[in-house]
């Protein structure tokens, strides 16, 4: 966490850094700088009598890493490519370069195992990255992955990334400062996070989606962020339409701006809680109904522990929407990759969703959407660009079937009837046929009494062929133009993805 020593006084002058809004809002608080993995590794010198036990501890961590990876491979739930990557990483554990050199460092330089491993990883990585052969250079990522796994075992952080405990224990009013935040790190952020600013990242990335969904104000692309901001600095963050910036050492003017933002916000919340506050569906003057649905990434907690102001807002919102418009299931697996190999717990997650807050309203579940910029699978980006969405699922039938089995088991257990499934990024009719076959198989085995699926509505549309596609393209262009203007991404994906509804 302490990437910079802040013993000295913070800089005397205030500073202002511009960024791009990823999630709207404002925050007043203290900077918590989340360093790189390297910067978070503890460093100490060993007493001579500690060397033996330290070598032991290191061997144990290597051994645990080895059996964890073996377990993942043997469970058979990894697709082939990922399994091969893991096999390759296992070989690294046998390689004298990494392991023996680390042991040597512990012995001769009396370094603690974490630091010795981190040093050795860094120098090996540098060596690999200098290689001419691209294949060799790519090994650097595997090396780092492997080394992070051993590190997390050494430090007793089962979740994987050794920075997770720091994220879970942020002091109240923290404004999180980082180069970038992976979705898997984002999932561990709790209430105390008042705002997020990153040097990299995009406004449509997964960090942005998660921040918006939790109502945490966030700025991305903040130039010079890590150079200017030190851990503990007082900060004012504005991510509002008329200002997207981070101000160091805020004065009375900033405090006042924050207060007025809070007042407006609280006023809005108060109106929302009043009886007669708008509620979906709303009837428009032409007699049509406008409906508002919520996008989710996680199953809403029924009894929020120490609900913060932000989660209270969200809970309030859930009562006023017509259902869940999009449940992005990949986040479930990102948070807990073992779900896919544990049918009982897997089904339990969906059962909680179907019995919970939205039990009486429609829910659209998007099947695991992998690939491209997606958060899943976490270890390795899907390298084949074409292997996205539905094509990833069809190429990994065990994943598709595990998910469908869990969903059907949950439908059976909960008696929930308003489910819609969204099949991601469909481009050819046979892909839908493949998914429907898998659905039929899983329904048969997991929930035999359940009514059949209604065919997707879009089948009527696809038969209208060229004219419609052209119209869709035009419409997409138009709306994208609007979207571009407003730097908002209007997701037209729903037009080209197919929905299935239950009768």
């Amino acid at each position: 966490m302490n990437s910079r020593t802040s013993n000295e006084q913070p800089p005397a002058q205030s500073f202002e850094l511009a960024g791009m809004i990823a999630s709207e809002g404002a925050a007043l608080g203290q900077a918590r700088v989340l360093g790189s993995v390297m910067e978070s590794v503890p460093h100490r010198s060993l007493m001579p009598q500690e060397i033996g036990p330290e070598l032991h501890r290191f061997s144990d961590a290597v051994q645990s890493s080895r059996s964890q990876m073996r377990g993942l491979i043997d469970a058979g739930h990894l697709d082939r490519e990922l399994a091969e990557i893991f096999e390759a990483q296992l070989l690294l554990l046998e390689d004298p370069m990494l392991i023996d050199e680390t042991r040597e460092k512990i012995r001769s330089r009396k370094l603690n195992a974490e630091w010795a491993l981190a040093e050795e990883t860094a120098s090996l990585k540098e060596f690999l990255l200098k290689a001419r052969n691209e294949m060799v250079r790519e090994r650097a990522a595997d090396l780092e992955d492997m080394s992070n796994r051993i590190l997390s075992n050494l430090m007793g952080v089962p979740e994987g990334d050794i920075r997770i405990p720091a994220l879970k224990n942020l002091p109240p009013g923290s404004i999180l400062i980082a180069h970038d935040l992976s979705p898997s790190l984002m999932l561990h952020i709790r209430e105390n996070c008042a705002g997020i600013a990153t040097e990299a990242g995009g406004v449509t990335g997964h960090m942005a989606i998660l921040a918006r969904s939790r109502g945490i104000p966030a700025l991305v692309h903040v130039g010079g962020l890590l150079d200017r901001v030190a851990d503990g600095d007082a900060l004012f963050m504005e991510a509002l339409p008329d200002a997207a910036r981070l101000i160091g050492r805020p004065g009375p003017a900033e405090e006042q701006r924050f207060a007025s933002w809070q007042t407006t916000r609280n006023e809005r919340m108060r109106r929302l809680r009043e009886a007669g506050a708008p509620e979906s569906p709303l009837t428009l003057p032409d007699g049509s109904h406008a409906i508002v649905l919520a996008n989710l990434e996680a199953v809403p907690e029924t009894a929020p522990v120490a609900a913060s102001e932000l989660t209270a807002d969200a809970d309030e919102s859930f009562g006023r929407v017509s259902g869940v418009g999009l449940f992005r299931t990949e986040f479930l697996y990102l948070k807990d990759p073992t779900l896919l190999s544990d049918d009982a717990r897997h089904a339990e997650v969906y059962t909680r969703l179907f019995r919970g807050e939205f039990a009486q309203r429609p829910i659209t579940l998007r099947l695991l959407d992998a690939g491209d910029d997606k958060a899943y699978p976490p270890q390795a980006a899907v390298r084949d660009r074409d292997l996205r969405g539905v094509r990833f699922l069809l190429a990994n039938p065990n994943i598709l079937e595990a998910q469908l089995r869990a969903i059907f088991t949950a439908l059976q257990a909960s008696g929930y009837t308003q489910l819609r499934l969204l099949v991601p990024v469909v481009s050819r009719p046979e892909e839908m046929i493949g998914v429907r076959e898998a659905i039929a198989r899983m329904r048969e085995s997991a929930a035999p009494g359940l009514p059949r699926l209604r065919p997707p509505r879009c089948s009527a549309r696809t038969s209208r062929s060229a004219a419609t596609s052209l119209a869709l393209v035009r419409m997409t262009l138009r709306v994208w133009r609007l979207a571009w203007i407003a730097t908002t991404r209007c997701r037209m994906k729903s037009c080209c993805t197919s929905r299935l509804s239950f009768v």
Binding site: L282, L284, D313, A314, E316, R461, A471, T487
Partner: protein, 91 residues
Amino acid sequence: MIEGLLRDQANASLISICGEAARRRLLVPVLIGLGLRGFSVAPAAVPECLERLHELTDLAVFTRARELAQSVLAARSASEVRALVQAFDAV
């Protein structure tokens, strides 16, 4: 054509809009004017979206939103659209 498409999918399909809340706030009247009726947004953006739609249940505002959509479709440049959308909000 656009209207036709939206009518076609009026019940089953929902276009979900992700984006910055404030900018989306500006976009809601245009989308309503175009005939869109389903909005799927992040929980934190729900109150604002509802409030915005509530304003549009007023006949005068609704009529203006339809006119806005037509002029946006006829607009030739991004800045023109931005101006139109902001002018709508300023009233």
